[in-house]
């Protein structure tokens, strides 16, 4: 059944944070102010690579209205940060390695004074040669960014020697795929309010995907015990992976502590572009061979990722890309080698899809090319080579068994779009008509209706599809704990607390619906506590499509003890056996009477202490020794129809179908939103988004040149078909869908474009110039009489 509002019935709910967001009433953390608040700004390097000869701050300090000017000398603790590896300077010491590198920070009474003060800081640089090409950066003569060289990380996965096997292959496809630096483009740029506390600590009101990790990192930098740092981290105006790492928090916290006053920092869009993370650009070379019947025999993968100047999660992204470059197929023999390279380009890091987007664009491209070479239907070719449920994961690791691959494959096979492709349905014309309206001559229309292909012979339609197998959780070798807390508080509210964050994905709505459906609570009974390090248990990061799974698992663990405690307490108050009572909307109900025995408020009023249950758990992990290998996967297949205008080479997406097998749908609106939103991001990735850099500097500094899709680009229909079945005995429940929607559309568009325009796409975003034809008017049929 398609997932939409109508089919969702009562489960389609107004999200608790919805009214505040659509009315603008909700205050984001970057909207906060405090009396006496100072304004912070960060001085960043103008050079992609330079030696710092000196930093002089006297003039800036003496400017009236300036409260503090900080440099590397003012960091009491570790002058480094990084979730996985702390190698990024808070303030640079003797060298800057990219145009976002921080050298100093200022707090002043007004933003104008702060800006003037930045201009008064004198930094003497000696520009150094730059490494702006990851392949060149690997050469010995390249400028070296770090003492250990320019390699952040490499990953190898090899099951045998592919060389001799390729010689036996009947068909071999070798291709190089190039993917762009994509920007998260969250609406709310990085920022926050930083308030010094009386105990020498600091309260940090700044978005992040993992408040407790920020607290840990800030404790290192500030040399403070964690307990003296409070991190309030939700609500967040979008993140998509881009705010998991620290951004402005070190500067805000240091300035607040140095001045003793609250400090606000809020990046301009330009500063956000310059300093912030992007999706790793990758160059992926694949060589893949089959036998005469189309059985895959060998797969060689070489990935080069441009990770920018510092680590953040570059190594983990590379592991993920390597795993997903093998993906869902039974290859016979695999030889994958990947490398993540330091450059003086912008910072690359975590981004929805986490390296899978690049890898699967390449992998699915191979499948389409091979099928073409074999003269096979590309979807049948995939089926022949897809792994069965009993087979191990991409790295040969044990994985949770599901039919995910087969069911999403079948859903696309039977979809309207795929039938249109294979059966050559004539619907192409009607779509062409609809989309051609905008391009009609502005003078008079034709007197008689014409078929689109006659009126606009340059418009070409194509349909393509792609498979996605997407790992969730952090993977083997990385601690992945989680947990949650349920309490009946003194005011009668059922309080649920998780260390997760709400950045627009709908976590609050999903959690509320889970509580309503699992426990029978009414929305008014519930108070949700997230995003405050002083108030939440450790749930781990809101990342890696893990939050929904971990909430489901934690609530499963909490349900029985919490219900028992509440019912036992209610039984005592009511003087009836607990077994005759149940939890429900507004209070405790008699099972037989069908009447409410006691409100939660009344129950709470009779308790000496609140009832509190905590659960600790951990994301399921594979029994393997391969770091990063996943255990739980979600599966998707995407079919898409596009229209290519041969005059301009421009591609329009007309129609999308997404089949997603990720277990039960916890929140229909959230699930649909994730797939629609993710696919919009993939559409941008495929067709227009690229944070272009020239010699280590961004050529796209704002949304006037870095283009993301608008509603005009997203006009076609998007159908989402969730497949909720899990094998009997599966104990893992819902798999997260936060990322999977962002992966498959780009390779599907590439294939659809190939069908439409006959051009194979090996580089994103698709360059319209490659699809353009000179005078693309087929069979010109207007002749004058004398011819």
């Amino acid at each position: 059944m398609l997932l939409n509002r109508r089919n969702s019935g009562d489960r389609w709910r107004i999200r608790p944070d919805g009214p505040g967001k659509v009315t603008g009433g909700l205050a984001y953390l970057t909207d906060l102010t405090a009396p006496g608040m100072l304004h912070g700004l960060v001085l960043r390097s103008p050079h992609p690579h330079a030696r710092i000869l000196s930093v002089r701050t006297e003039a800036a300090r003496s400017l009236p209205g300036v409260a503090a000017v900080l440099t590397r000398r003012d960091v009491p603790g570790l002058n480094r940060f990084g979730i996985a590896r702390q190698d990024q300077p808070v303030f640079c010491e003797d060298r800057v390695r990219y145009v976002g590198d921080a050298v100093a920070a200022v707090a002043a009474k007004t933003p104008e004074i702060a800006r003037r003060a930045l201009g008064l800081i004198e930094v003497a640089y000696e520009p150094l040669p730059i490494a702006d090409d990851p392949e060149l950066a690997l050469r010995p003569e390249a400028p070296q960014l770090h003492p250990d060289g320019n390699v952040l990380h490499s990953k190898t996965f090899r099951t045998g020697d592919v060389g001799p096997i390729f010689e036996r292959c009947a068909r071999v496809v070798e291709e190089t795929y190039v993917t762009p630096r994509q920007m998260h483009a969250y609406m709310e740029t990085e920022g926050g309010l930083f308030v010094p506390g009386e105990n020498g600590g600091v309260a940090v009101y700044a978005p992040t995907q993992h408040g407790l990790m920020d607290r840990l990192q800030l404790a290192r930098i500030l040399a403070l015990p964690k307990e003296r740092i409070r991190v309030v981290s939700s609500p967040i105006g979008g993140s998509f992976g881009g705010k998991d790492e620290l951004n402005v928090q070190p500067y805000g916290a240091l300035l607040a502590l140095a001045t003793g006053w609250p400090v606000k920092i809020h990046n301009s869009r330009r500063e956000s572009v310059r300093a912030g993370l992007k999706r790793h650009p990758m160059i992926i070379r694949m060589k893949t061979g089959t036998d005469e019947n189309g059985r895959l025999l060998a797969h060689r993968v070489r990935i080069i990722a441009d990770t920018g100047p510092y680590a953040t999660l570059g190594a983990e992204v590379l592991n993920f890309a390597t795993e997903h470059a093998v993906g869902a197929y039974r290859f016979g023999c695999v030889d994958a080698e990947s490398i993540s390279v330091f450059t003086n380009n912008g910072m690359s890091g975590e981004f929805r899809g986490f390296g899978g987007n690049q890898a699967i664009f390449a992998l699915e491209g191979q499948m389409d090319r091979l099928a073409d070479l074999l003269g096979m239907d590309p979807w049948e070719f995939r089926r022949m080579n897809l792994k069965s449920p009993d087979e191990p994961g991409p790295f040969g690791q044990p994985i949770a068994k599901t039919d995910g691959l087969a069911v999403v494959w079948t859903a696309v096979k039977e979809s309207r779009l795929w039938r249109e492709r294979t059966e050559g349905a004539s619907a192409a014309g009607s779509s062409g008509l609809r989309n051609d309206k905008d391009r009609l001559p502005a003078s008079e229309g034709s007197g008689q209706p014409q078929k689109a292909e006659e009126r606009s012979p340059w418009m070409k339609i194509g349909i393509g599809a792609a498979m996605v197998m997407h790992g969730a959780g952090l993977g083997y070798g990385i601690p992945d704990p989680s947990g949650g807390r349920l309490a009946l508080r003194g005011d009668g509210k059922i309080e649920v607390a998780f260390g997760f964050e709400e950045f627009g994905q709908g976590l609050l709505a999903t959690l509320e619906l889970m509580l309503i459906e699992r426990f029978g609570f009414a929305p008014g009974d519930i108070r949700i506590v997230i995003g405050d390090s002083d108030a939440v248990p450790d749930s781990g990061s809101s990342t890696a499509s893990r939050a929904t799974s971990m909430m489901w698992r934690s609530l499963g663990l909490l349900q029985r003890p919490f219900e028992e405690k509440l019912l036992r307490a209610a039984a005592e108050v009511c003087g009836v056996p607990a077994r005759q009572l149940r939890l429900g909307a507004g209070g405790v109900w008699g099972r037989e009477s069908g009447e409410r025995a006691l409100s939660y408020e009344a129950l709470a009023g009779r308790l000496a202490e609140p009832i509190v249950c905590e659960a600790s758990t951990s994301y399921p992990v594979s029994d393997t020794d391969i770091v990063g290998a996943h255990y739980l996967y979600a599966y998707a297949a995407v079919a898409v129809k596009v229209e290519v205008d041969g005059r301009t080479g421009r591609v329009r997406v007309l129609d999308q179908f997404h089949a997603v097998a990720a277990g039960p749908v916890m929140n229909p609106q959230g699930y649909l939103g994730q797939i629609e939103g993710g696919s919009s991001m993939a559409l941008g990735y495929a067709l227009m988004e690229e944070a272009a850099m020239e010699r280590g500097k961004y050529a796209t500094n704002n949304f006037d040149t870095y283009l993301i899709p608008t509603i005009a680009d997203l006009g076609g229909s998007v159908e989402v078909w969730p497949i909720e079945d899990l094998p009997e005995g599966d104990e893992h429940g819902p798999r997260g869908v936060g990322e999977i929607g962002s992966v498959g559309l780009a390779p599907a568009i590439a294939e659809a474009v190939r069908r439409a325009a006959g051009v194979r796409i090996d580089r994103l975003p698709i360059d319209p110039a490659r699809l353009q034809e000179a005078l693309p008017i087929g069979g010109m049929a207007v002749m004058s009489d004398d011819r």
Partner: protein, 304 residues
């Protein structure tokens, strides 16, 4: 603005003249330290991008009555320079008589910006997406300098680069478009406007073209006018192409000719997002495809 770090608070003095003469006097007084402003949408992006500083004096034109309104005057349609793009898009008379202008207005920026941005401002940017339309519609620009009014063909103005100097005092009051109602022009008229960017809407132009003309009853092309430009290239007409098409048979040969000549004559500049070749070919393809459509529809009508 309050509280937004990274954007300077405005330090300009804002003046509100009540007529064009007063506006010109203010501009004369402050010289290049003053900037005329109407919708202010382009200025704001230029300030924000550091392309020009915020001036000491802003002269707000929004209170000047003679720069407002759309009316017919002596065989011409006079469009006040302060007319917003939103009005250009919606005005029924404009839509009926000058549909390409309504089309162009639809293709510029986004709704919220079109509510503020004026047609005069789009013209004075010299690379506005409405300009190709004014070129094919033979627009005249009506300027006011002090008490003197002067008319100038939009084409002449653009040929000189279209840029007003920082100190230039003159004000664009109106744009006038000829209302050509002569009955002897039989046959079928056609017109086309196209803007191509890197996405479907709210995007700088890579190619903007406008084409008008007529297929006479004898099957010959008459009065073809063609213009092209983009967000960085000042638009121009293509007189050689137009004259070669004058009297040519409305058939595939004319389409090929238009395509070939435009490829030869259009000289756009590249940027990091599109090559000159792409822009050229796109302009030629768009113009040719629409001439082809016009010819084809005309042929279909003749047979029917």
């Amino acid at each position: 603005m309050s509280g937004t770090v990274g954007m300077p608070a405005s330090t300009s003095t804002v003046w509100h003249p009540r007529d064009a003469s007063e506006a010109c006097r203010l501009k004369k007084r402050f010289g290049s330290g003053a900037v005329y402003t109407a919708g202010g949408t382009l200025l704001r992006t230029q300030w924000e991008a550091g392309q020009r500083p915020e001036p000491a004096h802003l002269i707000d034109l929004s209170g000047i009555p003679e720069m407002r309104g759309i009316r017919t005057e002596g065989g011409e349609l006079a469009i006040g320079a302060l007319t917003t793009l939103a009005v250009c898009r919606r005005d029924p008379y404009l839509q009926a008589r000058f549909p390409l202008l309504a089309e162009a207005a639809r293709a510029i920026a986004a709704p919220s910006i079109r509510n503020l941005a004026t047609i005069g401002g789009n013209i004075l940017s010299a690379v506005g997406d409405s300009l190709p339309v004014f070129l094919v519609y033979k627009a005249r620009l009506i300027w006011r300098e002090g008490e003197a009014e002067r008319a100038e063909d939009a084409e002449d103005w653009l040929e000189r680069g279209g840029e007003e100097t920082e100190a230039s005092v003159r004000l664009l009051l109106q744009i006038r478009l000829p209302l050509d109602d002569s009955p002897e022009k039989a046959g079928r008229t056609f017109g086309f406007y196209g803007k191509i960017g890197r996405r479907e809407a709210f995007v700088p132009s890579l190619v903007t073209t406008a084409l008008t003309g007529r297929i006479a009853p004898d099957g010959q092309l008459r009065g073809v006018r063609l213009a092209a430009g983009d967000g960085k290239t000042v638009p121009r007409r293509f007189p050689l192409t137009e004259s070669r098409l004058e009297g040519a048979a409305a058939d595939d040969g004319a389409v090929r000719l238009l395509h070939r000549l435009l490829l030869e004559q259009y000289k756009p500049a590249p940027d990091p997002f599109a090559t000159a070749e792409y822009r050229k070919l796109t302009a030629a393809n768009l113009a040719a495809s629409h001439l082809w459509q016009a010819i084809r529809e005309n042929a279909g009508r003749g047979e029917g």
